[in-house]
C-alpha cells in the first residue's frame, strides 16, 4: 500500500488546520469540519432482482435501505440514492469490499465502482445548521421533513450535494449534517458555507 501521507484532500489548499479548534464556542452558531477522505463504493442493481439484492445485502451485512434512507452496519453505511443506486461508505480502503461484492454478485446485472476519491465530505453542525443549509439548498430541513438517518441529494448553491442528518439534539448543540460534494466543487462549497455562516459565528473544527 502506498503511504497515506502522499494523499491530499480536496480542501488541502485552504489550510484549514491552521485555524481549526477542538470545539465550537457557545456564541458560535455553526461548526464546519472537513471529514477524512471517504472510502465509497457505488453499487448499482435492480432490487427487483432479488438474488443480486440478497447477495449484496448479505455481503454488506444489512438490509439494503429504502430510498432516502441510510442503513448502518458494522463499519459501513449504505446510502440509498436512487431506485437502483446505493453508496457504501466505510472506514479504510474500498478495494477489498469491492472484490467481495463483485464475487458475491457473480453474473447478476450489477455494477460496483469505487468513487470515494472523487468526493469530499464536510460536517455541518450547530444550532444554526438548518438555517445555514437552507440558504443554499431547496430541501426542507425542518425536523418534520428531514429526520435522522435520512439521505437526500440536492444542491448546495451551484454544486451537487448529498445531505445526511446524523444527529439532532434539542440542546444547544443542534443538528449535525454530513454533506458530500464532488471533489472539484469542495473548495467552492466550503467557501460558500463559511461565507454564509458569517452571521451566525463560525467555528472550524479539527
Amino acid at each position: 500500500m502506498p503511504e497515506e501521507t502522499l494523499r491530499l484532500s480536496a480542501l488541502a489548499s485552504l489550510g484549514l488546520a491552521a485555524h481549526a479548534v477542538a470545539a465550537r464556542a457557545p456564541e458560535q452558531g455553526i461548526a464546519l469540519r472537513e471529514l477524512p477522505l471517504p472510502a465509497l463504493l457505488n453499487l448499482r442493481l435492480d432490487p427487483k432482482e432479488t438474488a443480486a439484492a440478497k447477495a449484496a445485502a448479505r455481503t454488506l451485512g444489512l438490509l439494503l435501505p429504502d430510498l432516502g434512507q441510510a442503513g448502518l452496519a458494522k463499519e459501513l453505511v449504505a446510502y440509498r440514492l436512487g431506485p437502483d443506486e446505493w453508496w457504501i461508505k466505510m472506514e479504510g480502503p474500498a478495494a477489498a469490499l469491492e472484490t467481495k461484492l463483485r464475487a458475491a454478485l457473480g453474473d447478476s446485472h450489477a455494477a460496483v465502482t469505487e468513487i470515494g476519491e472523487g468526493w469530499a465530505q464536510i460536517e455541518v453542525s450547530g444550532p444554526q445548521a438548518r438555517s445555514l443549509l437552507a440558504k443554499g439548498c431547496p430541501l426542507d430541513f425542518h425536523p418534520r421533513a428531514f429526520a435522522i438517518g435520512e439521505v437526500k441529494q440536492s444542491l448546495l448553491s451551484k454544486a451537487d450535494a448529498v445531505y445526511r442528518l446524523i444527529s439532532d439534539d434539542d440542546d444547544a448543540s443542534g443538528a449535525l449534517f454530513e454533506i458530500t460534494i464532488r471533489r472539484s466543487f469542495a473548495d467552492y462549497a466550503w467557501r460558500w458555507l463559511a461565507d454564509a455562516a458569517g452571521e451566525y459565528g463560525l467555528a472550524v473544527l479539527s
Partner: protein, 97 residues
C-alpha cells in the same frame, strides 16, 4: 418555481430537474426505412401543446432518473407523474386557443 413530484424522491424544487420536452416519441426501429419527411417529423416536429402536455423530466440533481409528467402548460399545474415506459393516465382534456 415548480414543485415536481419525483416518483422516486418525492416533491422537489424545479431547480433540481432538467426538462426533456415531449414524452412518448419512440425512436424509429429502422431509421433508414423512413423517408426524409418522416425522419424530420421524428427529429424536429413538436406538438408543443397548449394545454395538458405529456413531457419528460429528469431529476438531474437528485436520483438522476427520467420520468414522465402531465402538465398544463398554461397554468403549470402538474396533473400526473408516472415512470418511463408507463402509459399516460386518463386525464381531462384542456383546450386553450
Amino acid at each position: 418555481m415548480l414543485l415536481i413530484d419525483c416518483p422516486y424522491c418525492g416533491p422537489r424544487a424545479e431547480v433540481e430537474f432538467s426538462y426533456g420536452n415531449e414524452a412518448h416519441i419512440a425512436r424509429p426501429l429502422q431509421p433508414e426505412a423512413l423517408d426524409d419527411d418522416d425522419w424530420a417529423d421524428y427529429l424536429f416536429m413538436k406538438t408543443n401543446r397548449k394545454g395538458v402536455m405529456l413531457e419528460r423530466w429528469v431529476h438531474s440533481h437528485g436520483c438522476r432518473r427520467w420520468f414522465n409528467v402531465a402538465r398544463d402548460t398554461v397554468t403549470y399545474e402538474i396533473l400526473a407523474v408516472y415512470p418511463m415506459g408507463a402509459k399516460p393516465p386518463k386525464l381531462p382534456e384542456r383546450s386553450y386557443l
